[in-house]
């Protein structure tokens, strides 16, 4: 009798914890398309672990090239896309995402309000993590030259000069300046830091050929003079590798990548023990950080049955619930999930949020401008043309592209 009570008690305890950790859905289909990095892998693993549904996930760095095509069919191949504030626009533009208001009302009352992304009053996505670029520095090297971690890009240049002159590192500044998306992103950061506006208010007409645009390009060039000469071929991966090799002492880097820089893998103790993060920097006397805030979130496809949409919603909700947080996953991102405890590695992103960094613009035509920026800035960075010429090239190329896409007449 006594034994039986214990067993019953244990079973009850087990089943409650199981009910908390696992998820069971009656039926339906889940197929996730998303980028590939540790935090998203965790979300996908937990969402696809739900029982009772057909669950699949396709996580790839090329997700943006296939998510639209995979959601345009009817029924859509992918029932959920994991996106960021830049990439959601392309899918909203093509009307392949389902507004989630009814599902939130039915199943999502417990999702914290700040996680819901609304466009024109309709819930289009549920955010689960935040990201931003911010300063990463080598504590030991800054100590050696006797300066505090820079708060502005001007201070960063001064520190870089000292590091070079004292013969510590020849090219102390790092940055993801690969021609294309990365270089354009650095322009967006720096231009916002200068207080620039990308468009004439209320229109899709680009307006970057101004003093702030010139100052932005000049600052980028000044920084590049302290970078490895190959900087136009360095994306975030290559820049991280340079950091881990100890070739760089100061850089503006993604919060989601700092965990890897500070762990013991792929580097020497001298580097990883001295890798520190700090707030994003300001530029040109402005008080606004030269960085952008990002969220990653999940969506539900429009062209699927209500049953599949419901199953997808429930599974993704489980995949981004407190149940997924454990010692291993806690440091993978700045989670927006209840129960998340920030680690020192996440301080940079938190500072970015505190400083009210501008979120990356969620505009239908921002993607076009981003592509055009990435194609044209390299000419200026190599000294092939003036800043004004580059900015007018960007405006002309953007205008042609925006006409073709119907944003301009």
């Amino acid at each position: 009798m006594f034994l039986k009570t214990i067993i019953t008690a244990a079973t009850v305890a087990l089943s409650t914890s199981a009910a908390f950790a696992a998820c069971t859905i009656d039926s339906g289909r889940l197929n996730i398309i998303g980028n590939e990095f540790p935090a998203i892998q965790t979300v996908a693993k937990n969402a696809t672990s739900c029982e009772g549904i057909e669950a699949e996930a396709n996580l790839t760095a090329d997700h943006q090239k296939i998510n639209l095509a995979g959601m345009q069919g009817n029924p859509a191949e992918y029932t959920s896309a994991i996106l960021a504030n830049s990439s959601i626009v392309a899918l909203i533009n093509e009307d392949v995402l389902r507004p989630l208001d009814d599902l939130v009302a039915k199943h999502g009352q417990d999702i914290p309000k700040h996680q819901l992304i609304t466009v024109d009053g309709k819930v289009m996505a549920v955010a689960f993590m935040a990201n931003a670029q911010h300063l990463v520095y080598r504590g030991d090297i800054l100590e050696k030259i006797g300066v505090e971690p820079p708060k502005t890009y001007e201070e960063l240049l001064a520190a870089a000069k000292m590091i070079r002159e004292q013969g510590i590192i020849e090219n102390p500044v790092g940055g993801a300046y690969q021609a294309g998306w990365n270089l354009a992103q650095e322009f967006v950061n720096m231009y916002l830091g200068h207080g620039g506006e990308f468009y004439k208010p209320g229109t899709a007409e680009v307006a970057i050929n101004n003093e702030k645009g010139v100052a932005t390009l000049n600052m980028m060039k000044a920084l590049s003079e302290y970078m490895n000469p190959d900087f136009l071929t360095h994306d975030s991966n290559a820049t991280s590798a340079e950091w881990e090799a100890g070739n760089v002492a100061l850089m503006n880097m993604w919060g989601s990548r700092t965990g890897r820089l500070m762990d013991a893998e792929g580097s020497t103790p001298e580097v990883y023990n001295n890798t520190k993060v700090s707030a994003p920097m300001t530029v040109g006397g402005g008080n606004h950080p030269a960085s952008t805030l990002w969220w990653d979130g999940w969506t539900v496809a429009k062209n699927i049955s209500d049953k599949d949409a419901e199953a997808t919603f429930l599974a993704m909700k489980h995949g981004t619930s407190s149940a997924i947080l454990n010692d291993e996953t806690m440091g993978q991102a700045v989670w927006m999930i209840d129960g998340y405890k920030p680690a020192p590695v996440n301080a940079g992103v938190f500072s970015a949020i505190d400083m009210q960094t501008t979120p990356y613009p969620m505009l239908p035509y921002q993607g076009l401008l981003h592509t055009v920026l990435g194609d044209n800035i390299a000419d200026f960075m190599q000294g092939k043309e003036s800043a004004e010429q580059t900015l007018s090239d960007i405006e002309a190329a953007y205008t042609a592209a925006a006409r073709e896409k119907g944003y301009l007449k």
Binding site: K65, L232, L363, G367, L368, T371, Q382, E404, K405, G406
Partner: protein, 340 residues
Amino acid sequence: MKHKAFFLFVLPSSVAMLLFIFFPIISVVVQSFYVSHEQVIVTVENCGPFGCKQATAIDQEATAALREAEPLGKFAGLATYRDRNHLAVDAVGSAWEKADNWRDFGAQMLNLPFYKALGFTLTFTFVVTPLVIIFGFVIAVAVNSAASAIRGPLIFFSLLPMMITPLIGSLILFWMVDARGIIGSALQYLAGNPDLSVKASTPLMWIMLMVYGVWHAAPFAFIVYYAGLQTVNKDTLEASRIDGANRWEQIRYVIIPHLLPLTTFIALMQLMDNFRVFEPIVSFAANAHATSLSWAIYNDLGGETRQLSSAAATSVLTIIGVAILLSPVLVRTWRDFGRK
């Protein structure tokens, strides 16, 4: 072969070509004449974890109605071809009027994305194609005169560059020419300049892309020539030797004329392939220094907002470019055929 047998024989491949080559090309051509509808933009309030912000968005209902009415988009005729990101008719016109001299005009042209891509594409095509033919021929003659015991391994090693996937092959070279890689360091040592970096210099990047192009395609020319060398008439060769021809004269007067039709074939294939140069630019992250027409198509489709019409127009221009390049060779072949 009887006509009917021939027809049945080629039917499956004809159907496949029609389905997978001809129809898609028609669809691309049609696409290039259309652009997106005028987007109906509305101001909305977007909210998220970082607060609310006024922004613009596309009015989906109004756009859906437009899409329903004209599913292909808005007919634009040649507008996409004429815009600044393609043939840039207006920009070229004003450059022509404003430019003081040819140099200035050239510089302005190369600032336009299409002509910049075309410039590299043509340079690549006309440098790499002859070099591939020459190297392929030299390797074939060398391998053919090697002792038969080592010929097998020689052929295998000569073919290696072609067997390696282009993306992988160019990545290998990319890391070797890195400032800290084996070739990059060797170049710095030879030039006596510790700051020399292939990836930071446009001329060196162009040279590296072309070296890669030759390295990758020479085995193709080699294997074709090597096969051709097996068919050289031994009697003619012997006769020329009796007439006192040295080794060079044998090659010049017997082997080269014999292999001429193969050269035409290799030239055709290489002109087509090199005009579509793409993989090395991606693997070398060379787009800051060199872009090609194929890369431009990829770039149009790879952004967050897909520019289908722009990509279609560049594709059609690429097809036209290939046709122009091949026309001398095709005309010649046609004449030869007529003569027989």
